[in-house]
Symmetry: C2
Subunit: 759 residues, 2 copies
């Protein structure tokens, strides 16, 4: 037998095309007769639309049409973005698309947008989250709501919890509330040796993908609507368009083009605009957002306010936890993260009693969307801050406190479900072994170390895949999963190992809804776990065909054969052999006697595979300016099994870096009328390379029983506790606990000097 | 259980799009920056190319390039059309592509062609088939030949036989010769009660598809060569281009667009031109042949001369058969039909001794290609003519003579292989029962009835297919087989029956080489038999997934469930049920607990499934003009099982009609210098509707053991003996036996009057 291919670092298979510029992204394709659309965005956060004046725009050279809601052939009712790609009678956030100017060129479309005049009747803008939920608050939307969106289930990988039984006095802006409870929290806290509490605020944050959202739609002569798009999910987009426009299902073909980043933000947001315009005009239409449009009109992560209280005993046992979490849904009636954030706020720990509440509140800010581990960093920020404070109060080492209470397999989580295989203890132990941790009491003045842990439950979704040996002897893996964060490279090694091929003789093809095996959207840290499991079974099925053919060819029973690096050979007699390439040539021809060497695999895991990560952040804080300098960051993550450590480390570094952005830089800010102040990268800071410290990546492997070779989804876990670790490090360096993210220098300076924190 | 779906007449599923004009054929797509190519065709049948003067053409507005052989990045050596899309130094037929003029518009390309001057040094043109093979004949090609083409195996569904052991004195133009022999033929004929013989001539014939050959090629930014084309086989074309241009296999994607007819002629002929130009110019290039170009530059069926002698005894036993068959390959070094035609000339009969020889001879006419049942109609024309004559000489009823000697399962064919399940007896018996047969001795003066039988062995090729239930609850069948002669409609009913769906809830998708399950070219009467078998297995595999999910959902064991019209229900308790649509919705979503309802199936039949047909033709011959009027035509064909009788009858009618064309109208004629005289439908007659008589279709079902529900490939068999039946009818009507096809009025008149037959 050859060495296992699993666990060997390899370059991403999409890298050569990407670095040489050969990759064709969604904005790069051309379709004959293509029209370009540009959006007329609402300048009001909340208003009635009295009218849209199109004539001036229509008189411009090259402008083909000015489309408003009534012009799009939408058949679905409701207020989600697929049902309402353009505002109907009411705008509910500044930046909401009101009209589409469609023109022969992008420039003409842009001129057209300038010439469109929308007559608004302003309404009170609801921008304050706490005020929005109090009885008597003005409504953020006058028109009737329709609850339940189809995208909800894609993101919310967990049970939402019970609807609140207790009747609370709340405004109509509270669209949903969930409660999870067990035991008598008041009594548990009462009986604790220490109780700490705080209110934590996080802002709206932008996914900041490199590639703004873009989608092109056209009709084939046979009536098929083709949508070539930058999306995380081709089938989910097909479904959204199916419901939005009432076409036959197979008359919608969605092609997921190579992604220029997504991070949870690319789900059927611009596709309904492009598709609606193409259906209205019977010409190909591209909607390619500019960066400023993308900032204003898309679906960032929501602002959140978390009121949290926890207690513990001197023996290092956590007792009770009480949380009240306000989630800003913006205009999103369909779903919010109050369900999952109010579950994740309990962290990877055991509690004797808990009372966790979440509220989803509509406001006049954006449409809320998913963003890498939605709701989790906010929850970890609150919890991990208080866990550190509690450790101090109790006089317990903060790492030992976490370790002692860390959930292990068989525990019952606050969701009520048993905890599956879980690496919380292991990742904390790895941090404890790291040399940086030993330095925590010997750092220079102004420096501090912060520890935090957090997890992401990981999603499940049935999936299928095909493996096919071509007549050039290469094994082709075929899935419909959008290639995000290197999942195709994972498929390559899974198939190579299962089939018996060198990885460089395995290629991966992403196909589309017309003929591809089913895959859900890439997101929820589930692709490697679920689609990867299907790839594994497909490769095994193809291997069976291979062995059947080889058995006939070599006249050796299949059980006595092995496949090593693309060669089928007799066990113990390796010179009695035939190559995969030779067998495929014998199969794939007229008169061939062997079935094509192809296999199909399906998966439907029902067990979760949560990934947990612990972070250790080392900072220096400048007391004169309030500036936080990151010196080093360590992340230990349970990845199940690292199929390709280079990619796993990339995810860990990327997640930690994004978390650093949330900790220090990132905030979408509105003025008091709900107009966006931070509509460009000049106003919205993300961590540039020079602001990111060296990051140590410690891979911990606690194999997931149902994962391919033990692997699990790992994309979201590394971001969860990163901000909290930085927060805890700042506290260690300064003695000051920040309750609002990001920790900008003015805010830190205000906290250090005891002056009022800027909002 | 519901009624079987098999055997019910249904419209073709591609019909609505085709009749409403919605179908997008290969010439209908547009690619940005598309260039149009037009061919400079050789005006000489045989010449050296001294030079190609491009300058005048290049100076025309819109002309982008004039490409000659040296400009195309072909890496394959040899003289087949993929290795030599443009003539190198020597032209070997009038009409051979010498240069490509590529321009911004079709009109500019056409002007460019007019302006290109090719300087030829004429060489002796070899146009006489018998002269070509005699020692000392001038060679039809000076340059070295390379034997063996990759397309050979696609068409030649049978063993080619032995190379001739006896040394014959032959010219170098004889590229190949095959001999099959058994027993002492001379002795067998000597001992016969009657021996008849003749020499039979058939001309070059044109496939006359409605859609001239067309192919568009372009490069994706990542270097992938995409070829959107009118082809019978996407994978075979990919293979040809792979070898021709030496690209990575997966950097060639071939999309088989809906076919506007093919009949064997569309195999990688124009694709190398389009692909070569696109690779040379790095721009999209379309090669869309005009009808005249298509007549001149493609690959019709070859001319053939058959010298045949057979004997029989008075008891109605066939004794010996001796054949010498000269096949004109034109410029095709790679393959010819001498192998199969010299096998099929023995017909569906037992012989005591045989000596069958075939010669493949190069000439300066066309490139030889496949055409529905290649070599078979010619063979049947010769054999069935003589069988009728023999019956007369022996005083045996011609139908009884055929019946008595008809091959049955277990006999040994002249190929040496055992005869599989075979319906020759059954189809002859069906003809015997037809009322027209009873009238054979009571027809008016000038009328006659002709009987003939013939078969096509049917090809085998491994194939795969996928069945997938989509979230709209429809079962989607996915194959890579080009939809020719309604095969997709057959897949629909196969999948519907195997899965348990109404046919209108099954759709069929033809996908491409990038991600499709393997299928060989559509041709050789093998698609329903082989790909259909894979579809059947794929549907069964998907049904297993369906039952597994339903079993969990209904809490009933899979064995106790049945699937009826898209509903899974408990056997005996039909109200305990769930629809396929509901189950698919439960599977295809986040958190779903069931695998996607998808299945993959592969097939690799090793047993042949020959289809045999008997024809009865009723004609009236005008002795004054020599015109043959068809009054009625009857065809009885063993189709294994008629999946959809409407489609089967369509094939039977179409095949018979094409055979009538060969009998009466069709001939590609050259002048003595090898220049085509019949380059348009003004000069080349095909049977128009008013010349086609009522055709009775008698479906005979002798199920093929390995075919899906007993079905077999039926596309080729109905053409085989159709011309022979007409010939025999003319003989019955006039007493004159025609030895040359087509039986045009001048030829018939010459025969009737004993004057010299026009050539």
């Amino acid at each position: 037998m050859s060495e296992s291919l699993i666990g060997v670092a390899r370059p991403r298979i999409d890298a050569p095309d990407k670095v040489t510029g050969a990759t064709r992204y969604a904005a790069d394709g051309y379709v004959h007769g293509l029209l370009h659309a540009r959006l007329v965005l609402s300048t009001e956060a909340h208003a009635r639309i009295r009218g849209v004046e199109k004539d001036a725009a229509l008189q411009l050279d090259g402008v083909v049409a000015v489309l408003t809601a009534a012009d799009l052939p939408v058949v679905k009712s409701g207020t989600d973005r697929a049902a309402e790609p353009l505002a109907r009678d009411e705008v509910v956030f500044a930046g909401q698309p009101v009209a589409l100017v469609v023109a022969e060129s992008e420039a003409a479309a842009e001129d057209g947008v300038e010439a469109v005049v929308v007559d608004y009747e302003p309404l009170p803008a609801v921008v304050d989250l706490e005020a929005a939920m109090t009885p008597g608050a003005p409504p953020a939307r006058l028109s009737a709501e329709e609850a339940g969106g189809d995208l909800e289930s894609i993101h919310a990988g967990v049970d939402k919890g019970e609807d609140d039984a207790e009747e609370e006095q709340l405004s109509a802006n509270v669209l949903d509330s969930v409660t999870r409870g067990s035991g008598d929290v008041a009594a548990a806290l009462e009986a604790s040796d220490a109780v700490v509490s705080g209110t934590f605020r996080t802002p709206w944050t932008y996914q900041a993908y490199i590639e703004p959202q873009v989608s092109t739609a056209w009709l084939e002569p046979n009536g098929t609507l083709v949508v070539s798009t930058s999306t995380q999910g081709s089938f989910v987009t097909q479904n959204e368009l199916f419901r939005a426009f009432g076409l036959d299902f197979d008359k919608i073909r969605v092609i997921a083009e190579p992604l220029g980043g997504a991070f949870g933000g690319k789900f059927a947001l611009v596709e309904p605009l492009a598709a609606g315009a193409a259906l209205a005009l019977r010409r190909p239409v591209r909607v390619a957002l500019t960066r400023t449009e993308d900032f204003q009109a898309t679906n960032p992560a929501s602002a959140q306010i978390t009121e949290l209280r926890i207690g513990g005993r001197k023996d290092g046992t956590l007792t009770g936890i009480e949380a009240r979490m306000l989630v800003d849904r913006g205009s999103n009636a369909g779903w919010g993260v109050e369900g999952i954030t109010s579950l994740l706020v309990a962290g990877p720990y055991r509690w004797e009693a808990f009372d966790l509440r979440g509220y989803g509140i509509q406001t006049n800010r954006f449409t809320f969307g998913a963003y890498r581990a939605p709701g989790a960093p906010t929850a970890a920020f609150a919890l991990e801050s208080l866990v550190d404070e509690l450790a101090e109060e109790l006089g317990v080492d903060p790492l030992e406190l976490r370790l002692k209470n860390a959930l292990v397999e068989g525990d019952t989580a606050v969701s009520g479900n048993p905890v599956p295989t879980f690496g919380a203890v292991e990742v904390l132990e790895r941090i404890r072994e790291h040399p940086l941790w030993a330095r925590r009491d010997s750092l220079p003045e102004g420096e501090g170390l912060g520890l935090a842990a957090g997890y992401w439950p990981g999603g499940n979704e049935p999936a299928a895949a095909v493996c096919r040996v071509d007549s050039d002897g290469i094994l082709t893996v075929i899935t419909s999963a959008a290639d995000m964060s290197g999942v195709n490279s994972g498929f390559q090694v899974i198939a190579a190992e299962a089939f018996g091929m060198p990885p460089d003789r395995v290629r991966v093809v992403t196909t589309d809804t017309a003929s591809g095996p089913y895959a859900g959207a890439s997101g929820g840290s589930k692709v490697t776990y679920t689609v990867g499991a299907a790839v594994l079974k497909a490769a095994e099925a193809a291997r069976e065909k291979l062995l059947a053919a080889a058995s006939q060819e070599l006249e050796i029973a299949p059980d006595d054969l092995e496949v090593v690096e693309g060669v089928v050979r007799a066990k113990g007699a390796p010179d009695r052999s035939i190559t995969v390439a030779e067998l495929s040539r014998k199969a794939l021809r007229f008169g061939g006697r062997y079935e094509p060497i192809e296999g199909h695999g399906g998966s439907a895991q029902t067990r979760g595979a949560p990934s947990v990560a612990a972070h250790l952040s080392h900072v220096r804080v400048d007391r004169e300016t309030g500036e936080v300098e990151l010196l080093r960051h360590v992340i230990a993550q349970d990845v199940g099994r690292a199929l390709n450590p280079a990619l796993v480390e990339g995810q860990m570094r990327g997640g930690a870096t994004q978390g650093i952005g949330w900790a220090l830089f990132e905030e979408l800010a509105h003025d008091e009328d709900g107009r966006l102040l931070t509509g460009s990268f000049l106003d919205y800071a993300i961590p540039v390379a020079e602001r990111v410290p060296p990051i140590d990546t410690l891979i911990v492997e606690v194999p997931a029983p149902d994962g391919p070779f033990g692997a699990k989804g790992i994309g979201e876990a590394p971001v969860v506790a990163a901000p909290a670790a930085v927060v805890n490090a700042v506290a260690a360096a300064t003695g000051v606990r920040m309750r609002r993210l990001p920790m900008t220098p003015p805010r830190v300076w205000a906290a250090l000097t005891g002056t009022e924190e800027p909002s």
